[in-house]
């Protein structure tokens, strides 16, 4: 090839010239010789023409007249060859106009960036920049960014759920995904049993174990949470069999135990496993694991705290929740409740149905409304409900019950008052007789089989405000299919409707009820709730409670049953 010939013949010439130019440079007009960055000039055949001291330091065999491929790494010599002898002339011309892109390569453990500049008469000067530190910094930055992204994602996932079980699973799954080949999250014990969530390969398993944490080095300390202990590397051989997930594939290569620091209480411990052959954790990975553990611990603590508070709340409000009503002694009862706040489950309205203790005794239904709403009102409903329950033996005399209830409310510290309706219910034959007494409460409505809606003629003073209360009871008989509706003013005073802020009012309630002829108690309650609910739409409203007392269709049980089947079955 022509190149070989040229190289051989031109060598001496260049040797001569380069010696001269080097001297010129040395004379000091150009400063590149003293540059801290290595620089090498080579002719188009790859012979070294000039170099500076930094280049000589970097490439100890450097010398004028030597071939580049003898003194510099292969990648640089090859690049020079490509630049000096481009495959096609036009492309070379084009690339000469645009500045050639720098190259990167390794030499002696360093990362070098090489920038070529063409002198114009065939020589190429290579400027070398040591990129090792920059690259290392960039790598570190990338790793940090990735870890940051993982931690951000982990926080999002961990904080999303306030359910401790979900949170445990998330922590284990995230740890197995990002920190090791498998991960175990161990919760502090409940009555000596530990919940262990094991995650590997995107799946998890939850087990309850009775175990002695002292048998796993570092586990007892990690589970205590205090004093804070660093992540600890333990000998994989010391790991009990329960700690190695099924399908892990042999004994782990490395094992780390990290505490999950919670909010003042230990949230558990994290065990990370890596397979044999995988490298062990380095210091920065260990730090990362601790950062992760801190987030997981905080999330787990928050979830436990919420669960505990929710448990307490549930226990405390259980007695304040509206009861489920059903059929009692041949009479259908149904109740519906909607609190003023969607976030609350209890409010200032209440109802109860107390079945008579003996056969033939009346059932007492009570529905009422405490002044105010929310928790404070709900607490008072609880007091009223238990007082009424205590007064059940006296329920034959509504006036007496109201008088005693009034006395009880007056002596209490609060200043709230309440309105309520008492309904004593007894079924005789197919008919249901009600004794109704309203204490300052909207009068019960009675839906007749004809579709007429009547108001029970009862009235009285509210309780808890005045020293003396008076009331007047009404007696109402229901035929089968007829319903008596007790309701609170949250229904009638609900504002809304298609034209804005009109009050629902008793008339609309009466017409809604009139459409319910022959319906079961549940269906009446559902219908009234639905109409009132649609009326308020998304607007604000007070607590709303309804109770329907319905005399069932008795004749169904035998005769009609056979009749309808006979008539309709094919």
């Amino acid at each position: 090839m022509a190149g070989h010939y040229a190289r051989a013949t031109l060598m001496t010439v260049f040797e001569d010239e380069s010696g001269r130019s080097r001297e010129t440079a040395g004379a000091g007009s150009t400063s590149w010789i003293g540059s801290p960055h290595p620089a090498v000039v080579a002719d188009r055949d790859g012979g070294v023409v000039e170099f500076n001291a930094a280049a000589a330091d970097l490439f100890p065999r450097m010398g004028v007249g030597k071939w580049l491929d003898e003194v510099v790494p292969r990648w640089l010599a090859d690049a020079h060859q490509r630049l000096a002898h481009p495959a096609r002339a036009p492309a070379a011309a084009a690339s000469a106009r645009t500045r050639p892109a720098p190259l990167r390569g390794r030499h002696d453990g360093r990362l070098l960036r090489a920038h070529p500049t063409e002198s114009g008469h065939g020589d190429v000067a290579w400027w070398l920049v040591d990129d090792s530190d920059l690259t290392a910094a960039q790598d570190a930055l990338r790793t940090e960014r990735e870890r940051h992204a993982i931690l951000a994602e982990a926080s999002t996932q961990l904080l999303a759920s306030l359910n401790p079980d979900r949170c445990l699973e998330k922590a284990a799954l995230l740890a197995a995904d990002h920190l090791g080949d498998a991960a175990l999250v161990i919760s502090p014990p409940v009555r000596n049993r530990y919940t262990v969530v094991t995650a590997m390969g995107g799946g998890f398993e939850r087990t309850q174990l009775t175990l002695d944490p002292a048998l796993v080095p570092g586990l007892a300390e990690a589970l205590q949470g205090f004093p804070p202990v660093p992540a600890r590397w333990i000998d994989p051989a010391e790991l009990p069999s329960w700690a190695v997930p099924e399908g892990f594939g042999g004994t782990p290569g490395s094992v780390a135990i990290t505490p999950l620091p919670g909010h003042g209480v230990p949230a558990g411990a994290l065990i990370l496993l890596r397979r044999g052959g995988q490298r062990a954790f380095d210091a920065s990975e260990e730090l990362f694991a601790r950062l992760f553990a801190a987030r997981a611990g905080a999330a787990l603590s928050a979830a436990r705290l919420y669960a505990e508070q929710a448990r307490i709340t549930r226990a405390l409000i259980a007695e304040l929740l509206p009861p489920r009503l059903h059929h009692v002694d041949g009479v259908d009862f149904a109740g519906g409740y909607r609190t003023s706040q969607d976030t609350e489950r209890i409010g200032g309205d209440f109802y109860d149905v107390h079945p008579g203790t003996d056969d033939g005794q009346e059932t007492l239904a009570v529905l009422g409304d405490v002044c105010g709403k929310g928790l404070d009102a709900a607490v008072l409903t609880g007091r009223i409900r238990s007082t009424v329950q205590a007064l059940l033996p006296l329920a034959g005399d509504h006036q007496n019950v109201l008088r005693l209830l009034n006395g009880a409310l007056l002596t209490a510290r609060h200043t709230r008052f309440a309105t309520l309706v008492l309904a004593s219910v007894r079924r005789t034959g197919g008919r249901v007789r009600l004794r109704l007494t309203s204490a300052g409460h909207p009068r019960p409505l009675v839906l007749r089989a004809t579709g007429e809606v009547e108001e029970a003629d009862t009235g009285g003073t509210l309780v808890g405000a005045l020293p003396v209360v008076t009331s007047r009871s009404a007696t109402v008989d229901l035929s089968p299919g007829e319903t008596c509706l007790l309701y609170t003013d949250g229904i009638t005073e609900a504002r809304g409707g298609p034209l804005g802020s009109a009050m629902f009012g008793e008339d609309r309630l009466r017409s809604a009820l009139a459409e319910c002829v022959g319906l079961q108690a549940e269906a009446v309650v559902e219908r009234v709730q639905m109409i009132a609910g649609d009326w308020v739409g998304r607007g604000p409203h007070d607590d709303m409670a309804v109770v329907a007392i319905t005399a069932p269709h008795t004749t169904h049980l035998s005769a009609v049953n056979g009749h309808t089947r006979g008539r309709y079955t094919a």
Partner: protein, 369 residues
């Protein structure tokens, strides 16, 4: 989630006979007969799932259809629905011990919460799904009709549900359903949706970013048995770029005012309305409010078909009750007049009008005077 009649191991004739018996009992408001019809078929070997989905479900669909055509009143519809609910309870009581095999642990969800969105009172489809899932071995929390989103979320935090199934029948609840879907996903749980609200092809389920949609209870059960849809990582609320024009917000906010305006316009245009009672007037206002609500939903989903579907359905209901459709067209026109700044609302109203008149669409939907 309207259950569809599908081929099963039970003979279709048995199922048809049971459906006839159940329907007859509901017509007579005869709860014991209704219960006897279904439990009798269960005694005769019809699986509970088939009774739920091929008897109770279709009969409930018929209740709705009969109401829509005016053959039964609203009270009868409620009575029938209440009886159906009791029949489901009776059947559930029998199968309470759970005959179905539990789904595998691990990838398959074990605990499902079934709920209706806030404002949704039609609970039966959700109840049927809950019972079918229970029968298949899932642990089911059935929260019933009309579940405010804060209650739902509190329940999910406290129970550790694997997946939520949300039911809604009315498209006007789609914005509420969207809020619920977003809230459930924000706590890292996947949510399946079902019910007529999400469109016959589930298009609104996709639009709102639900993790899954099922056309009926069987499909929902299959989806859940196949494993939980991967929960999205908690993320910002699903974006609906078309809401940037604020038309949904402004139309919804102006609801009362729009209803008043259209009602006034109708009274001026239709002389017969002068003799309306207060109650008739209020009913008319309710109908107009309904139109505005559906317009809101169609703006929210940016799908004029939602609106045209509602308008043609309403026209059908009115026809079956002997009410002339002119008032509906007049109401749409009055509503369009009030929307001069809202091009999308005008386009949807124009589409509704075209659907009503069954005239060829003009090249560009434009205002009509």
């Amino acid at each position: 989630m309207s259950p569809q009649t599908t081929i099963s191991t039970t003979s279709t004739a048995d199922l048809a006979a049971t459906r006839r018996q159940l329907w007859a009992a509901l017509e007579a408001r005869d709860e014991p007969a209704a219960t006897a019809a279904v439990l009798g078929a269960h005694d005769a070997g019809v699986p509970a799932e088939d009774l739920l989905l091929d008897v109770i479900g279709p009969v409930q669909a018929r209740v709705g259809a009969e109401w829509a055509t005016g053959r039964i009143g609203v009270a009868q519809e409620h009575a029938a629905t209440a009886i159906q609910d009791r029949v489901v309870a009776a059947l559930a009581h029998r199968t309470a011990d759970g005959t179905g095999a539990r789904p595998e642990t691990g990838e398959t969800p074990r605990r499902v919460t079934v709920a209706c969105v806030d404002g949704e009172w039609h609970a039966l489809p959700a109840r049927l799904l809950a019972e079918v899932l229970r029968g298949q071995g899932f642990l089911v929390d059935y929260l019933g009709a009309h579940v405010p989103t804060p209650h739902l979320i509190a329940h999910l935090h406290q129970t550790g549900t694997d997946v939520v199934a949300l039911s809604s029948s009315l498209p006007v609840r789609l914005p509420t359903a969207h809020a619920a879907v977003t809230a459930i996903q924000a706590i890292g749980l996947p949510v399946l949706v079902g019910g007529a609200a999400f469109g016959p092809d589930g298009r609104y389920a996709r639009l709102l970013g639900a993790d899954g949609w099922a056309p009926d209870a069987r499909a929902a059960a299959r989806l859940l048995a196949a494993g939980p849809p991967r929960a999205h990582a908690a993320r910002p609320a699903g974006e609906l770029p078309h809401l940037a024009d604020q038309e949904y917000t402004l139309v919804t906010r102006a609801r009362t005012q729009l209803v008043r305006q259209v009602l006034q316009g109708l009274e001026d245009a239709v002389p017969a309305m002068a003799s309306y009672t207060d109650r008739q007037r209020e009913r008319t206002a309710e109908d107009i409010a309904h139109i505005v609500d559906f317009l809101g939903a169609s703006l929210y989903t940016d799908d004029a078909e939602l609106f045209t579907g509602f308008v043609t359905w309403t026209a059908g209901i009115l026809r079956s009750r002997g009410v002339p459709g002119d008032a509906l067209v007049a109401a749409l026109d009055l509503l369009a007049d009030a929307q001069h700044d809202f091009p999308r609302a005008r386009a949807h109203l124009a589409a509704g009008r075209r659907a009503l008149l069954r005239v060829p669409a003009p090249p560009t939907p434009g205002p009509r005077s």
